[in-house]
Structure formats: C-alpha cells, structure tokens
C-alpha cells in the first residue's frame, strides 16, 4: 500500500501516482511503428445535451484489424470520450482517464467540474506527444453535461493537447471531413433527441461510404456504431434495437435515389 509523507503526497492525481510507484508509461525514444488505427467519431449538441457517435472499425494500413472496437465510451456518469488514432495508446488513455475521474471523485469526495475533466484529458493528450511524433497519434473528443451551467458541452483536441470548445458539433478521425460536412449541413440548434441521433447516424454512414477506414453498420454480424447521449440524466447509450431501424431507413433512402 503506497503511503506518502504529507509534503510528498501526489494528492488525487492518479497518473502521478503511477509514476511514483514505477508504473508510468515510457515514451518511445525513436523510430516509427505501424499500429492499428481507430477512425471516425462525431459529437453534436442538441436540445437536451449532446450526442456522441463512433464507428467500430480499426485498421492496420489497408487491412481491417478489428470490427467491433468501442471508441465511444463513458468517462463517468456525466461525460463521455471518443477517440480516433492509434488504437493501443488510445484505449490506454481512455482507461487512465476513466480511472483518473473516479480516483479524483473518491479521494476528494466530489466530482471534477466538466471543465476540469476536459483539462485533465488535455494533459493526457499532451503527455502522448512524444509517442505521437512516432506515429501513434491520439486525438480524442470529449463531451458531457455541465452540472454547474446545466448545458451540454463539446471539446475537441489536437495532437499537442490543445483544447477547443465547440458550440455545435465536432468530428475527428479519418472520416471526419465527410462526417463533419454531413452534420454541418443538417445541423439546427436545439434539435430533438431523434433528429440529433439520426443526424449522427447519417454522418457515420456517409463517412463509411466515402472513407475506407470507417466502418458502416455491419448487419451481417449485427455490429452497429456506438451512439450515446449525455444529458442531465447522465450517459445513456442508444440501444442497437433503436439504431438498426435508423440505418435500415437510411439504406432504403439510398436505394430509392
């Protein structure tokens, strides 16, 4: 059990604790390696909060390395994180981020503010910069319900940990250009839940249609993109039984063109 002197205490900072006990990650020193990459994620604001969505495909070069990756995950009760980029470091970052939020909550007896969570993630992305220089880029999206301001908020990041709050929508990953454009064209302020989910679903569909690294709905295996809402009720995943008809409707629409 790690026990620290009061003057030498890492406080509620879990990554710092990992370093102290010798479990911190080492950055690669040189060279570049090819690792599986995770692709398109989007998030957009609507009347009750935010919708987050991401496809399920991970690719290694021109090969599909994983078909059911979960890039959009719950960070804590009122926030979620979506990640595009090198799959290994990205999943590790998500795990550490989730743990950091919970660790803080338990040690301090209170949750971090949404802004605090966003800044925390920013520092983690910044910490990944040496690995990013070797090709292991991780670019997350962060979205959640701000309990103090009572509003849903979105944050986008760049490789250096730069944090940008977006007012309407944000997209990341290889298919972000297509997905972002679809949302941009279809976006209205204060949409209803259904319209917002439909728009997110459509954006992923179009990204998958035009970007080989983005996976569409896999009806053959029953694998659908991950979609979730974050509102004053907290994080609520959208069930596959809800998503399937939406994708079917889209497919019908495309057929009828």
């Amino acid at each position: 059990m790690p026990f620290f002197e009061p003057t030498d205490d890492p406080g509620s900072n879990f990554p710092e604790l990992l370093r102290r006990v010798g479990l911190g990650a080492d950055a690669p020193s040189a060279g570049s390696i090819d690792v599986p990459h995770a692709t398109t994620c989007v998030a957009l604001r609507y009347g009750d909060g935010v919708v987050m969505a991401g496809d399920r495909r991970a690719t290694s070069g021109n090969l599909i390395s994983h078909r059911s990756m979960e890039k959009v995950v719950q960070a804590d009760r009122y926030s979620g994180v979506a990640i595009a980029g090198a799959a290994g470091p990205a999943m590790e970052m998500i795990r550490l981020f989730q743990l950091q939020l919970e660790h803080y909550e338990k040690v301090e007896g209170t949750t971090l503010s949404l802004e605090g969570k966003a800044n925390q993630l920013s520092m983690m992305v910044r910490g990944n910069l040496p690995a990013a220089m070797q090709g292991m880029v991780v670019v997350p999206l962060f979205a959640g319900w701000d309990l103090r301001r009572e509003v849903g908020r979105l944050f986008a990041y760049d490789v250096t940990g730069g944090r940008y709050e977006e007012r309407e929508y944000v997209a990341t990953g290889s298919g972000s250009l297509h997905a972002g454009t679809v949302i941009k064209v279809g976006f209205e302020t204060d949409m209803g839940r259904d319209e917002a989910i439909d728009l997110a679903v459509r954006s992923l569909w179009e990204a998958a249609d035009a970007d080989s690294a983005t996976g569409g709905p896999d009806t053959l295996r029953g694998i659908y993109p991950i979609v979730a809402t974050v509102t004053s009720e907290g994080w609520v995943p959208v069930d596959d039984t809800d998503l399937a008809p939406r994708f079917d409707a889209l497919a019908d629409e495309v057929r009828a063109r």
Binding site: M1, P2, L17, G109
Partner: protein, 225 residues
C-alpha cells in the same frame, strides 16, 4: 550524559495501547450491519462534510473512527492501493481481504515503531456477488484484524452498542430495519439521535458496478420516519 531509563517492552506496548484506546473512546461510534441487499454502515457524525464512511472501490467501503486526519490518510492510501491494483491487473482482482492485510501492516508498523500509535479503528467491508461472500474486516490501532460476519461496531462505547446490536440482530433484515437497528443501537435507551447526526451509506448488490451509495439526510429521515 544521562542514561535513558529502561522501560520494559510490555510497559511500552501497554502505554501505547492505552493511549490509542483513550483517543478512540473519545470519538463517536459507528456500526455496520448486513442486510438483504448488502451491507449498511451507520455512523454517529454531526459533521455534514467530514465523512467517516467512504468508497474505496467497486464493492468495497471504508469506515473509520478516532482521529480524523489519521483515518483519512488511511482511506486515501486504501483508494490508491485499490485503484493501482485494479489498473495493474483487473477490477475483479481487488478484494477487501488483501486491503485489510495491508492496513494491518501499516497500523502494526506504526504501533511498534513510531512514537505515537494511530488513534483509529477502521472497517473494510466488501459486498460479494452472493450474500454468502460478504466480508467485513475490523482493524484495530495495533494492526489486529478481526473478521466479522453479520455486524461490526467501532469506536467509543463499542461494548454496550455491540450488545444492543447483537441482541436485536436477525437474518434477512431489509434496509429500513437495518438502519433503524443501527440508529437505535448507537443511541441507546436514553437518547434519540437526530437524522442530521447520522451518516448512512450502503454497499448494495443492486447498485450496478459501483455498489457504494451514500444516503443523504432526506433519505435517512425518510427511512427512520
């Protein structure tokens, strides 16, 4: 240079134990009771902000009596140990028994090697997937670990409270009955504890991944009314 007086080790240990016991006896007590859906911890605590009971991990809770800064230091150490273990291995590998042993090592070490023992008693409780797997470990100021089955009592006047509690305890209490039993055992026959002086938290099997749940004043008033 004057020679230090020789003091027999027995005497040193006894003095330290007396010192720790006195410190603990000054504070208010808490009880933990098994009920149908898990374990409920009821503490006498007039403070709204300084907690005696808190969450350590998914299925594990911590409760301490005695000197606040000392058991709070142990609480944070427990959270760190649990989160580190869960990160390094898996969430399923974090268990109360290992945690209780680590606490016992720390408390035992401080008791024998430091000038002053910690004036605390702590409880590490874990709710199992099945009721039969529920565990409670009561750890004393000198590192003694006692595992408890149905009820545990920590703090000042523990003997009298324990007697009242064990007398009235029965299997398959529901939450309401368990909280009532805890509150009445803490209060004793001669007084009644207002809800604002009670801190109540549960580890309940039906609460999802994180079983720990703090019952707020309104909830406590609701249960006791």
């Amino acid at each position: 240079m004057s020679q230090p007086f020789y003091v027999a080790p027995e005497q040193v240990m006894k003095d330290r134990a007396d010192y720790a016991r006195k410190g603990i006896a000054r504070g208010r007590a808490l009880v933990a009771i098994r009920y149908t859906d898990g374990i409920v911890i009821v503490a006498e605590n007039p403070s709204e902000t300084l907690r005696k009971v808190s969450e350590i991990y998914d299925r594990i809770a911590f409760a301490g009596v005695g000197k606040y800064n000392e058991f709070d230091q142990l609480r944070v150490a427990g959270i760190r140990a649990a989160d580190l273990k869960g990160f390094q291995y898996s969430r399923d590998d974090v268990d109360a028994r290992a945690l209780a042993n680590q606490y016992a090592q720390i408390l035992g070490n401080i008791f024998t090697h430091e000038m002053k023992p910690m004036e605390v008693e702590i409880l590490v409780a874990e709710v199992g997937l099945e009721p039969s797997d529920d565990q409670m470990f009561h750890i004393l100021y000198d590192g003694t670990v006692v595992d408890q089955r149905n009820v545990a009592v920590l703090g000042g006047d523990a003997d009298a409270i324990g007697e009242r509690l064990r007398e009235a305890y029965q299997d398959d209490l529901d939450l309401e009955a368990a909280v009532k039993l805890g509150a009445s055992s803490l209060a004793g026959p001669d007084r009644e504890l207002p809800t604002t002086e009670l801190e109540v938290a549960t580890l309940s099997r039906g609460n999802g991944r994180r079983c720990f749940h703090r019952v707020n004043d309104l909830g406590v008033a609701d249960i006791l009314s």
